[in-house]
């Protein structure tokens, strides 16, 4: 197939939106006084992963899904056994001197594994439904006990959404919600002290404005202080003076919103929104059910993270350590997100060819089958 053909199949808008987000992210990370140079390195590595994933035929992943799953579990177990801890949580593995956060990687791996598992049949039987739950449970539990509530929420959200996209019936999903509702009162006993505290503070942020409520309050103040057009890049009082905690990671949105205002925030949300729609569009044009679910899963993975991150920055949702995709500082998250988007591009490149004029032309089929490889 010629380069022109490839060019035409490419989802042009998606890389453009991704580049915009990466650029805004880099500006914000710089403003947040994080290691800017390192973030550039992560982006370069991420772009490599994006290109590689785009070129790689996603369909080859389906047969090796079981091996991927096993690898994911092994990595998460390794974190528990030999991982590095910081701030009371054990989340990192050291790989060639670089910190690797397998929980970030597991978001994408679970998408691929669930897509492979759920694309076996058209209708979702109770058996398959239960199977999906059993697949998602071990990594979710391993991550929750790191402890990393945020990533666990992402995994559960992705699983729930993929069950829906895979055709789960309403009462299947409803029973899952019901089970969750029953389990919720048990949550305080499962959560670690600081997680429970965060939840309580979210429910009443004024009960301890100097303690755990501080982060929430300061982030809200920063966002609000941004006003309509923001205080200008590098000029946010709250962010620059360090009142916003974790300003390069969990609370990066507060930094962005303070410096770029409502105008900038709406642009950022619009870019995310467009990207999400593009991801769903790729799902819609995917040549097979596996591709559709991979694109849908990546859509969910990004949606859940954006909603939870922005939501907690503005005080709509409780605080959970979740990065804002492509904006927050961090190697594992950046590379995983770009690899995931590359994989969706791979789906787009291998989409169905609808041939109008020369249906049945062997040549055309040849092209298609070449790609089907």
């Amino acid at each position: 197939m010629s380069t022109t053909a490839l060019w035409r199949r490419l989802d042009h808008l998606q890389p453009l939106l991704v580049s915009m987000l990466a650029a805004l992210g880099l500006m914000t990370v710089y403003s947040a006084h994080a290691d800017w140079g390192r973030q550039v390195l992560w982006l370069i590595l991420g772009l490599g992963a994006y290109a590689a994933a785009s070129a790689f035929d996603y369909r080859r992943l389906r047969p090796v899904a079981l091996a991927l799953y096993a690898g994911m579990i092994l990595l998460l177990l390794a974190v528990h056994l030999v991982g590095h801890s910081a701030l009371g949580a054990r989340r990192w593995l050291s790989v060639a001197g670089f910190p690797l956060e397998p929980s970030e990687l597991s978001k994408l791996l679970l998408v691929v594994v669930l897509a492979a598992y759920l694309s076996r049949g058209e209708r979702l039987s109770w058996r398959t439904f239960g199977g999906a739950l059993l697949i998602a449970a071990p990594p979710a539990c391993l991550i929750l006990t790191q402890p990393d509530l945020g990533t666990t929420i992402v995994l559960v959200g992705v699983m729930f959404g993929m069950l829906f996209l895979a055709g789960a019936r309403a009462w299947q999903l409803f029973s899952l919600v019901l089970a969750g509702g029953v389990a919720l009162p048990l949550l305080p006993y499962l959560l670690h002290g600081y997680q429970r505290r965060r939840l309580e503070i979210f429910l009443d942020p004024n009960q301890d404005p100097l303690g755990a409520g501080y982060n929430l309050l300061q982030a809200r103040i920063a966002v609000g202080a941004g006003g309509l057009f923001g205080q200008g890049w590098l000029r946010g009082l709250q962010g620059q003076l360090g009142f916003v905690p974790e300003r390069a990671t969990d609370f990066v949105f507060a930094i962005f919103a303070e410096e770029f205002g409502l105008f900038g925030s709406l642009v950022l949300l619009a870019v995310f929104g467009l990207l999400l729609i593009r991801l769903l569009r790729t799902a819609a044009v995917a040549p097979d059910r596996f591709g559709e679910l991979v694109a849908g899963g990546v859509f969910l993975m990004i949606l859940v993270q954006v909603v939870e991150n922005v939501g907690m920055n503005i005080g709509l949702l409780p605080i959970a350590g979740i990065p804002l995709p492509l904006i927050s500082y961090g190697g594992s998250a950046t590379i995983t997100t770009l690899a995931a988007l590359g994989l969706v591009q791979s789906v787009a490149l291998r989409r169905r060819a609808v041939v109008h004029a020369h249906q049945g032309s062997p040549r055309t089929h040849g092209v298609a089958s070449e790609f089907a490889g």
């Binding site: 022109t4 053909a5 035409r8 199949r9 959404g161 829906f164 996209l165 055709g167 404005p209 100097l210 303690g211 755990a212 501080y214 982060n215 300061q218 809200r220 103040i221 920063a222 966002v223 609000g224 202080a225 941004g226 006003g227 309509l228 009082l237 709250q238 003076l241 360090g242 009142f243 919103a257 409502l262 925030s265 949300l269 995310f272 929104g273 999400l276 769903l280 799902a283 819609a284 044009v285 849908g296 859509f299 969910l300 954006v306 909603v307 922005v310 939501g311 503005i314 005080g315 709509l316 169905r352 060819a353 609808v354 041939v355 004029a357 020369h358 032309s361 040549r363 055309t364 092209v367």
Partner: protein
Amino acid sequence: MIQLGGVTPRARWSNRLVAAASVAVLIIGVLAIELAQLQVVDGAKLAGMARANSVHRIVLEAERGIIYDRHGAPLVTNSPMWNLEVVPAVLPIDARALAAELSELARITGEPEEKLATALLAADPYASVRVGPDLSQTQELALNERLPDLPGASIVQRAVRTYIEPLVFGHVLGYVGPLNDADLKRLGPLGYQPREVVGKVGVEAGLETLLRGKDGWADVEVDARGQVVRTLNSQAPIAGASVYLSLDATLQRATAQSLAEGLVRDHKTAGASVVIDPRTGEVLALVSLPGYDTNLFTHGISQADYSRLINDPDRPLLNRAIAGQYAPGSTFKMVTATAGLQEGKITANTLLSCPSYINVNGWIYHNWASYSLGQMNVAKALATSCDTFFYQVAAMVGDVTLAKYARAFGFGQATGIEMPGVMPGLVPDRIWKQLQCGVPDLNSDACRWSTGDTITFGIGQSYLLTTPLNQALYVAAVANGGHVMKPTLVLEARDASGHVVQSLQPVVTSTVPASDANLMAVREGMREEINRPYNMNYWFRAAGVPADGGGKTGTAQWGGSGLDLPTHAWFVFFAPYAQPEIALSIFVEKGELSEVEAAPIGVQVMKFYREHVATIRAGLS
């Protein structure tokens, strides 16, 4: 033919994908609405909170003016003192780290941990809270090393008044202290803040408006750790004026030492002395013993120290020089003499007898001698301090006229020296005595002025009271031709930029209606007194000081009427005789023999003055 144009994407939007897209759009829409609420509707309020977070107005404390002696020797310094301050908002959020930091702060400051925690929780979270007592330099160094591990804690340095030789200068300088509720009520309208200190007694209080500087301020931007990032706007503080007292530090020391030695020699515990320049009213030395350590007050005095000072029977907190009121006794006789001469009742040559007692309406009034001293003129009567001579003069002059002369010499008036708490003393007369009684008793004997009251008034007893400062002003007036000077402790005051804002302006508060000749006759008597061989002259010869000048001793009875009453000893003196440039009063509380107890102290002060007159009189360096 390859028709690549035929490869057209055709999206198959399933219901589920449409639903997913709708959910995404809906959720993002909710986020956008909430953002608009936060950034536009609440934006101004939250922007204000952001500014309040980071922009603080801090006070730049003005340095209080330094007090010097007349030659520029500092008598007080503003020495650095350290305090721990904590910004509660910056303390660790984690409960365990918070507890660890609090216990560490408690350990360093020696403050109970619960007290520390309570103080911090009650305070404005974004403002610095001063915690614990003043830190020693050792504590400051120890804390400074630990600061990087103690988020929110910082050390602030402030200036604390430290008085040099408080036992010598304390009663003059006084001390400063934190504003109490009464001070705040009084000084609040002048812009005083509760954190400030204010002069409480002495010239620290009397010169408060000069010494107090004008605080500046700075609007600073601080980061989340409370560190100042930059200053947005500021106004520099203006230090208080430098005040050059009229005191000579060396003469003050010599006076204090002479008085202290005299008291020890005679087994006495309290006394006072004031040395002034009779030409200007400048106070060269002002001592009250016992003194106390004024520095105890600047650091917040302990209850134990305070009750010790309050309950001391010698009353060290009382500045006897300005606030101790005592009968002047025989030192008053120059007033009686002046009145008699000026009113024409006697002349300088009038001879009156000096019997051992006189009988007035059946009451016997004794002289100090149990034998007659014979006939004498007023000068000799002063020199021998003949009581019966002055009984007669007082009776001739009358109480009302005597009171008029006493007031003219400054008796009974607070002097207006630059210190609070100055007492006026008391000049009695018949009206005063009646006012002391209730209406039903108006005509009782106790309320009616008697001739006895008049004649004892003439020797400085009766109800007459004065202070060592008034005594010095009185003898100065005798010396300078009848001018009662307004006493002053201030030679000069210069503001922070060196401009003179106050300088010595001699003020005559009252002039005695007496001729030069009459005052000269009185001075002659004072000269004779100190030149009596085998008596007062002995002290001058023994000290090697020429008896050039005039003096008068007085042993004043107190505590009622009758014989064998307790006494106070006085000595007043001026010198040199021709051109008086120094006048002094010496007071020994419970002194029994003024010639032996008070006079030698005055001679010692004079000896020092004569030996160091060149340096004492040298100008401000």
